[in-house]
Symmetry: C2
């Protein structure tokens, strides 16, 4: 089947996804009977562009204008969806951690327009997961978000597809790559400002690095993970939070030399009444499996009632890794849809 | 739907599976609409027991005789399958690493009798994977084997369900729990014989520990993993193999104290013409993520073309963990079958 795809957001991740879809075009056709065209792209700079006959992906990737790409500009998401007629919307707008908007509205609009929605945005998972999940189900569509935690590493799909009857009693992990990189640089002798500048040069840290340094990003990921895999919606303000700003670089160096490094740990634990969660710097015990989770690598350990302990570690992700998580979500939706279509025929 | 289940093998794993199925009876019904009864049990001691009306699991677990359990004794696997009428056969006979028999014949007989087959036995995967996979597919049945490598941790299901379009270029890991436990005891001061006796007391090592110590078990797992996740059938005799027998306990202790412990590493790598694989003791580099994979914990790192690196670590497995892998395979087959039945109706 040929799928119309529409992208909300065309920054690093959106462009990486466009390139990945293009590079994997033949594999998708051969492995899954899937062909695709891009019928809509929206971004702050370009506005809401749609073209029902398919846009020229190469032109868009090279920064060409809408007319060259075969697109018309629409006034809002509703008109854009009507024009693009997407089977799948990839929602990749910037995170607004405090509300999850406007991504939540975009996802809802996409589902109501009859599309599956795949998002790379943690906000909607933290602020509206039960509602969006139920809406998608009631409409017979899928809502997927693998890339929101640990990039493309399979976390949500692992619990959805591979660990039936499993109840997660808690998890701990290193979920924010940027702070983990900053700590590694400080272990090697940098102060926080130097480390941040290096991270910015590498594209790992934003112009304002506060979301990473003060533990916000890690807290959002912790809330998203707890909400979905522990089945317990966890408001962001219930995640106890501390960052790495106050750590002394000399102490960070000394701790690593002693084999007990500082890491920004995310934790969640099931209690009698719900889930408690926290983000904060911890000095690891000597034998911790997290001691060698360095640089941009991230890792999470789950305690469950079926497997005593399971740890997933993702090494050295890139924007393409995030794009792969979106692609994997797309394929899983498509495979499920093929089966559903078969069942209905 | 009610499933007739039949067990080949009723040792530690078979009994753990019977207890797990019993304990999860309500969850299976509520979560998957699955009810079950045991209609056949075969073991060296009991012979081929079947009862189409269902056997008494409690009686069997308590060592009761066949008549008390409601079973009749049959002469061979064919007559047993005809009497037990299983929808799913759990093949849990002892490993014969050099041939994979008689497990291969049992699996083939189960499939030809119309059952799905789930095995905990590595032999058939190493010696007959492509043939059994194709036979199952041609018969519209499933052949699953999650528990053969890293117990119940999702490895095969991860690649099957969560990592579409992923090509594994290689892996490395600690796949044999027993040697990993022996090395830990030797690091703590034991010699090899003392460590083996402790492992035997804990049920971790066989009366003849050679299969573990000399790296056979690790080599079989390496071959199974390469065969399935790298899509490259790898004969056992092509896995270069060394064990831990020749290591000096004093050197093992000193290496751990220096932060560069000895581990029995399994490796496979894709080459221009196929896959090369090896098992052997290695002294880990200081920053190795495997340095803290201790005791019975196991871990494997995959290099792929979609995720730069993904490591799965399973902590402290028990026979019940292996049983969970079999249960997860059962549920995945049942879920797929429900969909197929829906599609066919």
């Amino acid at each position: 089947m040929r799928y119309n795809l529409a992208f909300i957001g065309f920054g690093n991740v959106g462009q990486a996804l466009a390139r990945l879809l293009t590079r994997r075009r033949q594999d998708l056709a051969a492995g899954y009977g899937v062909t695709w065209r891009l019928t809509g792209v929206a971004s702050r700079r370009r506005g809401w562009l749609a073209g029902a006959d398919g846009l020229d992906v190469e032109v868009l990737l090279n920064g060409g204008n809408a007319i060259a790409a075969g697109a018309g500009a629409l006034p809002d998401v509703q008109a854009w969806l009507a024009a693009a007629q997407p089977h799948v919307v990839f929602e990749m707008s910037s995170l607004q951690a405090s509300t999850g908007q406007p991504a939540i509205d975009y996802i809802e609009a996409g589902l109501r327009a009859g599309a599956h929605v795949v998002t790379a945005n943690k906000g909607p998972v933290v602020h509206a997961y039960p509602r969006l999940r139920d809406l998608a189900e009631s409409l017979g569509r899928g809502f997927r978000f693998e890339s929101t935690v640990m990039d493309g590493a399979p976390i949500f799909s692992l619990f959805r597809s591979c660990l039936p009857l499993t109840r997660v009693s808690g998890f701990e992990g290193i979920l924010n790559s940027t702070t983990n990189y900053l700590l590694a640089r400080m272990e090697a002798g940098a102060d926080l400002d130097q480390a941040v500048r290096e991270a910015q040069t590498l594209g790992l840290a934003e112009t304002d690095p506060a979301a990473d340094i003060d533990g916000f990003d890690a807290a959002v990921k912790t809330a998203a993970l707890a909400t979905v895999v522990m089945g317990q919606p966890l408001p962001l303000n219930e995640v106890t939070r501390a960052g790495i700003r106050g750590l002394d670089p000399a102490e960070i160096r000394a701790a690593r030399q002693a084999g007990r490094p500082w890491k920004l740990l995310c934790r969640a634990e099931r209690t009698a009444t719900g889930v408690t969660a926290s983000v904060g710097p911890e000095r690891l015990p000597e034998a911790s499996p997290f001691a060698q989770v360095n640089g941009t690598t991230s890792a999470v350990h789950f305690a469950t009632d079926t497997l005593p302990g399971l740890t997933i570690t993702e090494h050295d992700p890139t924007p393409e890794t995030t794009a792969y998580g979106l692609l994997a979500d797309f394929i899983s939706l498509v495979s499920a849809q093929e089966v559903t279509a078969l069942a209905a025929s």
